[in-house]
Symmetry: C2
């Protein structure tokens, strides 16, 4: 549970900040509204969690919204969700590490000027760990989540007890005033306030980002999977809602101020602006400061544990990406090689792209969590909307099939819940896109559109190729060549060549010849003499090469065979060296590679690579022992 | 003739400059010595040319000094020459294009501040032409050389006629004074003057750089090759000596001043320093200015023709490099794939390295021809010295074998000429290294040493591998596997798979099975159903893959076969798509490639690539027509 929940729970480390920040834009409602927004977001969390409990039970294969949308709304809707989810992976990484950097600089104010580099280094380290495939054990990843839960609840309990005892802690920023350059007009105030409250609400909804993580991780749960995943969702949803409400309440009680740009909007008690060095602490850190005002060690504990849980959350993005990518690859939306989730090395390029995009975002937004979260919301809620709409259709379909009244009642309820989730998610999405389109949400929309187009193009390509390659009904593509003509390419007489000859002989072709190209006349005649001396049982053909070429004479020879007997299969044996060090690739196999590439272009020709392990390889990997001990196979 | 001679003749465009420049360091001898140095260099040219006429007759295979040194002094000496020649190719390119830039900026003074970019662009264009393999026809390349010869002789004749008629033309710089910050001490003056004269002499010897080009181009001459090449050498040597002497004489008569840094050492007639914008023109350009003082069009003609011939000279470096590289590759000093001179594409990397090194040198010296020429001299004369020493040994050996007195006399004369060449070349080399070691000659020496070491290491690697791969005398490496076990890797049932199956069947293995890895259980069982429906005549094995891997289950299966029957040969057939566009590589073959790489590590396994040309390939290259029309084969 804790691993998949870390994404959702860690959002508590930044969701309250976004609520306060949005509210700081209006003076009227100020902080009295904040706890109610916390409650509203908590309620939304519970609704959405209820929706996804239904989802994971109905679709326990871990496809999440992608599967729901594909199956009920068609592949195009599925592709929209897929694009949204890919964007989300990038943003989970970017947001988590940006907030991570904020906590780190809170704990170590000396690092404050280096927030962007800290976030980037964080992304790089997590990517590196993901690339090396050194998955930390679930237990290890669970510790930060539990610690974080403990730290937040301890803060909340102590805070609530102190409030109950009348000893209300005051935040450092309690006496500061928020000044407004924005809304002055009384007439628009009402509408603006509503909009701001809505924005605060939708910003707070970022706490829901982690729901998807659980929904796609269903197959990793113990059986019964759907039920266990549903329970995890419920539990972490309840916890997140509770923590968010509690923290927002405490933030308003302790008078915490949190604004977009403290140097513009924050004024100190004596009326002076805050100093240039002033760095705003995250709400959770300010709370820990205020509540544990006589135990600074607790402040550091809370802050560092928050940073830790954000690493775990960012890690879920890197760990989770191969799963989605392999599902998309199996459906033909991404390159096919990504389909095998187990071959981790294959995903290196994908994970590097993920990290690269996240780093670009961090640099472009100068590690501004607020901006990134607006992008994040677009992706998260776009997939919610499509997914829940899909679920409504799902129940519609099922209702048409089922007649058992009890089951029908349950389905009606489910449809109601999913419908409510869809409407709420649409509302949040609308607010974010309308209020933040120019401020960055367009980027998320553009990225989704771009991914949608590229994945659609890949799918069309694969479909076209599949149609092209479909076997003909009359079995026309099963004709068997009448004869085989084997050719062994010889450059010099050595063990690899002799092995290629033996292997060629054992396959018993209709014809077998060894061929050498006389790039250098002297060495060609020396080779022929040696060939005769060894009385090798295969005839050697020497091809002239007036222009000192190797590939063209061989190709011409093969084409001549093809012309003589167009229905024959030509099998070309090429020795290939298996080397142990990277630079040996420069010294070996280059000619073989080129020859192979060219020969494969000729119809009815196959190329057989006959490997020979050089001693440098065996020394490096111990290839002479039992093969299973070879690290290369173990890694396979 | 003109193509190979362009290198040597073009040196007339910068050799006089170097003589005047070196002499400008001493006031005593000034320009009166210049023509005599021109005569001396001319004499040396004739001696060296005589040496190389002997060389090309004795070794007409085009190996040049490399062959002479390898055969007579052993492989180490050959390697020294090889390193020197490789450095020379870089410097031919760098020097020619630097001087080219000087002529271009003389013709277009507006470009004067961009001398370095002009030289770099020149290098890039010549490299590009070399990479595209668009060899200009010899006739086209001959035109600039003839034009240059015509232009220089016209300049000389008109100049000499005017001198004869008493109408001595005066150069623009004739009234300028050269000031000296250097030698003041009367005592050291004598020795210093000797040194400077020697340096002027050795700098002028750069005119000899092109000799090597002719010596290595022998096989391109008409038969009798040695004789024709010798005649070309003699003719171009005579022409170069004549032009150099004439130009140097005219330069001293017209009072041309040429110094290292005109802003430091040149003073105008009124005693003021030259302006900051003053750009020194090459000697040939100044001569053209002075001699054709009432026909400026001739000045432009001479200057542009000189620029043109320098392009041809630089081109010989790019064109000639593959020849040397292929010879070195055949001897095992460079990666083997370079051995086939005809497959031009192979040399792309080599030519790019050549251009890269030349560009670095141009940037490092800020396009200073004088500095580059000192480096150039090191390489050129190092190979002269070793080559001529080899020739002396060659005649010693021959003298021991031959008794015919007439032939012996000829050999004695030859030995004398080669010995003289060796001594003169050693002298020049010594002067350059001693006088210019810190000023840049160390770089040429270091580059030669580095190349020597790398090529030695490559040679040792190949020798070691050759020993490792030498067939055993008892024929132990000729054992033939007892049985063959063929495996066809199936991902889906399509035409490429069916083709792989047909091909596997036609080779009649002892056992044949199709294998699919069940990465996805649904599609695996669908595949099996389809397999049965089509009643394919080969059994299909489905391998489980609990972790959604593809490579490991297959490897495990192959290893299990190996364990059961270790003397069998396992033949794995993998379909491979031949695509038409670069990006299709991302979407196809990645899994096949990975599988192939891994399988080749297993002993007694060969991998057969069964190609399938996608329609995108045929559309691009028209593969369905007669194969010879396919541009890919034509290029082969």
């Amino acid at each position: 549970m804790p691993v998949f929940a870390s994404d959702m729970l860690s959002s508590v480390a930044y969701a309250p900040d976004e609520i306060l920040l949005a509210l700081s834009l209006t003076s009227l409602v100020a902080l009295t509204v904040a706890p109610w927004i916390g409650v509203a977001v908590g309620a939304v969390i519970l609704v959405i969690v209820a929706c996804y409990r239904i989802n994971v039970k109905a679709y326990p294969s871990g496809g999440g919204d992608y599967e729901v949308a594909s199956k009920n709304l068609g592949p195009r809707a599925g592709l929209v969700v897929a694009a949204a989810l890919l964007v989300d992976y990038v943003l989970t990484l970017a947001v988590s590490m940006t907030v991570f950097a904020a906590y780190i600089t809170t704990a170590f104010p000396l690092l404050a000027p280096y927030r962007v580099p800290v976030a980037i280094i964080g992304i790089l380290l997590i990517t590196l760990a993901g690339l090396r495939g050194s998955r930390a054990t679930p237990v290890l990843l669970a510790i930060p989540t539990y610690l974080f839960l403990g730290a937040v609840f301890l803060t909340m309990c102590v805070g609530l007890l102190r409030v109950g005892a009348g000893d209300i802690p005051q935040a450092e920023t309690a006496d500061y005033t928020v000044v407004h350059t924005g809304i002055q007009n009384e007439a628009t105030l009402g509408l603006a306030t509503v909009l701001i409250v809505l924005r605060a609400f939708s910003s707070g909804s970022v706490a829901l980002a982690g729901v998807q993580t659980v929904a796609t991780a269903v197959p990793a749960f113990k059986k019964p999977r759907g039920k266990n995943a549903g329970n995890t969702l419920l539990l972490s949803g309840l916890l997140a809602a509770l923590m968010l409400t509690g923290l927002t309440y405490l933030a308003s009680v302790t008078g915490i101020k949190y604004v977009d740009d403290p140097h513009l909007y924050l004024v100190r008690p004596d009326g002076s602006a805050v100093s240039a060095e002033y760095e705003q602490e995250p709400v959770l850190a300010q709370l820990a400061h205020a509540i544990f005002d006589n135990a600074p060690v607790m402040f550091y504990f809370v802050v560092l544990v928050a940073a830790l849980v954000l690493i775990v959350a960012a890690n879920t993005a890197v760990e989770g990406f191969p799963g989605l990518a392999s599902r998309l690859a199996r459906d033909g939306f991404l390159p096919r090689q990504l389909a095998t989730k187990g071959d981790r090395l294959t995903f290196s390029n994908g994970i590097l792209l993920l990290a690269f995009a996240a780093i670009l975002l961090v640099i472009a937004t100068r590690a501004s969590a607020t901006t990134l979260i607006q992008l994040y919301l677009v992706g998260v809620f776009a997939s919610f909307v499509v997914g829940q709409a899909g679920m409504v259709l799902h129940w519609n379909k099922r209702l048409r099939l089922v007649i058992d009244p009890k089951a029908r009642v349950r389905m009606h309820i489910n449809r109601l819940v999913n419908g409510a989730g869809c409407i709420i998610a649409s509302g949040v999405l609308l607010v974010v896109i309308v209020s933040k389109f120019l401020a960055g949400a367009w980027l998320a929309v553009a990225a989704m559109a771009g991914l949608y187009l590229v994945m659609g193009a890949i799918h069309r390509h694969y479909s076209r190729v599949a149609r092209e390659l479909a076997p003909e009904a009359d079995g026309g593509s099963r004709t068997i060549p009448s004869n085989t003509h084997a050719i062994v390419v010889v450059n010099e007489i050595n063990k690899p060549t002799l092995r290629a000859l033996s292997y060629a002989r054992v396959t018993r072709s209709s014809q077998l010849e060894a061929i050498t190209v006389a790039v250098d006349e002297d060495s060609a005649s020396a080779l022929q003499r040696q060939w005769n001396d060894m009385s090798l049982p295969v005839p050697l053909t020497v091809l002239d090469s007036p222009y000192r070429e190797l590939v063209r004479p061989l190709l011409a020879h093969v084409l001549a065979i093809r012309r003589r007997s167009p229905r024959d299969l030509v099998i070309v044996y090429i020795p290939q060296y298996i080397v142990g060090r990277w630079w040996e690739h420069i010294l070996h196999n280059q000619v073989a590679l080129k020859l192979r590439t060219r020969l494969l272009l000729v119809p009815n020709v196959v190329v057989v690579s006959v490997p020979w392990r050089l001693r440098s390889f065996s020394r490096q990997y111990g290839g002479d022992g039992p093969e299973n001990d070879n690290p290369l196979y173990r890694q396979a």
